[in-house]
């Protein structure tokens, strides 16, 4: 898929662990892991909102569109 999830980058920037994020966002560790590894097929606006709120960032910081594997940023 051309949509890349940069959740791990944002977590590293905020120095937040997966467990901590899971607790603060209110979604299970397994679901967060699905999102982090790029296996997720869709993300709810409510989940995105909660993640952005906790990580103090924009949706664009977490999601990125890449063509032919080259970074657009």
């Amino acid at each position: 898929m051309s949509i890349i999830v940069n959740l791990d980058v944002m977590m590293a920037k905020r120095k937040m662990s997966l467990n901590e994020l899971s607790e603060k966002v209110g979604i299970s560790l397994s679901n967060l892991s699905i999102l982090k590894t790029g296996k997720a097929k869709a993300i709810r606006f409510s989940t995105l909102e909660a993640i952005c709120q906790v990580l103090v960032c924009q949706p664009g910081d977490i999601l990125e569109y890449r063509e032919f594997g080259i970074s657009m940023k």
Partner: protein, 173 residues
């Protein structure tokens, strides 16, 4: 995730399929024992079969009866497994789709056996009474089984779509 909260219906259906399997299996065992006893007493199978129908028809009957019973037992077994899976956590499993499809194939085969019965009696029977009396009913049975087979395949397709939606829902965060 629990999709069907009230699974009592499926437990009852499982029990019903268990009873049906037992009855059919007992029927098979009893008919085999009866045939053996009959053979031991009379020394031939001629009286057990309809001698007026001719050799080909009788051979066809001997082959087709266990095949039909086997297919019917297969359908019951698959249904039983489906009831167990439906009463569990998730009815949308790839195994279930394959099971529904195998039921569809078995129903189609039973339909073709009906049609073959009609043809064999029409061509090879030395006694035309059977085909005049039972012919229309056999053809009707063939039509009904074909219809049932198509319905089962439609159900399998619905299961497949359900499986895809369920998978997508599982991967939605």
């Amino acid at each position: 995730m629990k999709i069907i909260e009230d699974n009592k219906t499926y437990k009852v259906l499982k029990i019903i399929s268990d009873v049906l399997i037992t009855v059919v299996a007992l029927g098979v065992v009893i008919s085999i024992i009866t045939a053996i006893i009959h053979y031991r007493i009379t020394g031939s199978m001629e009286n057990a079969l309809d001698s007026s129908s001719g050799f080909v028809v009788n051979v066809f009957r001997v082959i087709i009866t266990p095949v039909s019973l086997g297919l019917f037992l297969l359908i019951l077994f698959q249904l039983r497994k489906i009831f167990i899976l439906i009463s569990g956590d998730s009815p949308f499993e790839m195994q279930n789709i394959d099971r529904v499809r195998s039921i569809g194939y078995a129903v189609f085969l039973l339909g073709f056996i009906k049609f073959a019965t009609f043809l064999v009696h029409l061509i090879f029977s030395e006694n035309s009474r059977f085909i005049f009396v039972n012919g229309p009913m056999i053809l009707l049975g063939f039509g009904q089984l074909m219809f049932a087979g198509f319905v089962v395949f439609v159900i399998a397709e619905i299961f497949r779509i359900g499986f895809e939606i369920y998978n997508e829902q599982k991967l939605t965060v």
